[in-house]
Symmetry: C2
């Protein structure tokens, strides 16, 4: 379900480490600002530094990690500008995915989406924010999967690599999971109405992401007038 874009990829140890770190990023197990050390990771994973270096270099390349100076590998902080740009791109791209998914989805796939929303509803009722967050992400992935666009899936996977740490941060700060906009999306897909599906996912990203934007703007403000936050930006 989650292993997108691995199509045809020759499997070496580096790829395994890459997937490991990717999942850690997407699931928010790596926090923005957190530093990574190649040797340490290698020791932890029981490999030499080579595959770890491979993986990290790949993640740096797609900007899922940054390397300001040679010795300083960390999970990047999201900026407001970057978030807005990514949001705009996601609206186009996930809109496309939703449109295609609405056209193509069969009964089983629709049921799968409904099940994800149902579980998400349950998670929210249980107050299990982390699970809700995870299910939300899986819903978005499932949509792209149904759209049947593997290349698009790769692009969106890379985008999620960037969103993971941010979303985890926001949820840790008490952000609410936004499920509201998934219902109209489901309705549009059931009706095979591509345009409506695209609109719905746009709403989801715009309004559902409002909490995230707020969080970023607060962080930016706190950064401009530094009080005593936990991260004094080095």
């Amino acid at each position: 379900m989650s292993d997108a874009l691995d199509t045809l990829e020759h499997d070496n140890l580096g790829s395994t480490v890459y997937r490991l770190l990717s999942n850690a990023l997407i699931e928010g197990r790596l926090k923005p600002g957190e530093r990574l050390k190649i040797r340490e990771l290698a020791a932890r994973l029981g490999t030499s530094v080579t595959p770890v270096r491979d993986a990290i270099l790949r993640l740096v390349q797609e900007q899922a990690l940054t390397m300001k100076s040679a010795r300083d590998i960390r999970v990047p902080h999201m900026t407001v500008a970057r978030y807005l740009e990514i949001r705009t791109i996601r609206i186009r791209l996930e809109g496309l995915a939703a449109e295609m998914a609405a056209q193509r989805a069969d009964a089983a796939q629709i049921a799968q989406l409904e099940e994800l929303v149902r579980q998400n509803q349950q998670a929210i009722a249980d107050g299990d924010i982390a699970r809700g967050c995870d299910l939300n992400q899986r819903f978005h992935f499932a949509l792209v999967d149904i759209a049947g666009m593997p290349f698009l899936q790769g692009i969106l996977f890379r985008i999620w690599l960037q969103m993971g740490p941010l979303i985890a941060e926001v949820y840790a700060a008490g952000g609410d999971d936004m499920l509201d906009y998934h219902y109209p999306l489901l309705a549009a897909i059931r009706a095979h109405d591509g345009a409506a599906a695209a609109r719905a996912i746009g709403d989801d990203l715009l309004y559902g992401g409002q909490v995230i934007l707020q969080h970023l703007q607060n962080a930016a403000a706190a950064d401009a007038a530094p009080a005593d936050d936990d991260q004094p930006t080095a």
Copy 2:
């Protein structure tokens, strides 16, 4: 002008090799199906295998190169399905870029675009297909640059990594450079009409890319009923 997405990237030898190979791909100096050997490249570039391996692994990761078996690194062949998917994505993404560019472009930037089109016109008049091809690509890059969306630029750069070898192949087979649709695009940008600009670039990709699609379909047909082409697909 051409070095997109290198923002903040810590420069190591691997990145240099990556850029080298990227340029080779985008400029069509690597043909679809062509095989790459790490040791050979390292020898040619006068480095050890490590940086070359770094670079190649990164390119494999973003599917600009494939690695079917561990020993078999090559420039991938484009398929019709993949081309159509990428075209759809490009229409959304470059449409977005054109829209933003139309809104933001100042006089100097518009002049820059006009200059590129003028040079392209000249190149076509001179029958210099390769140069026309290069200028066409630079026009598209310039547009994204003007749009001021660095993240989008990265995505589109990766897409061009895939298009490069294909376009070179088509032009080698006598494909015509399509400049026609750049004029309405320029007009839309001059008028700061985002929607019209997006439509124009969509037309450019759809109709201008017709030659490419034709080429791919011919290749696919020849592959299904193999006569005596130069590439019998291994």
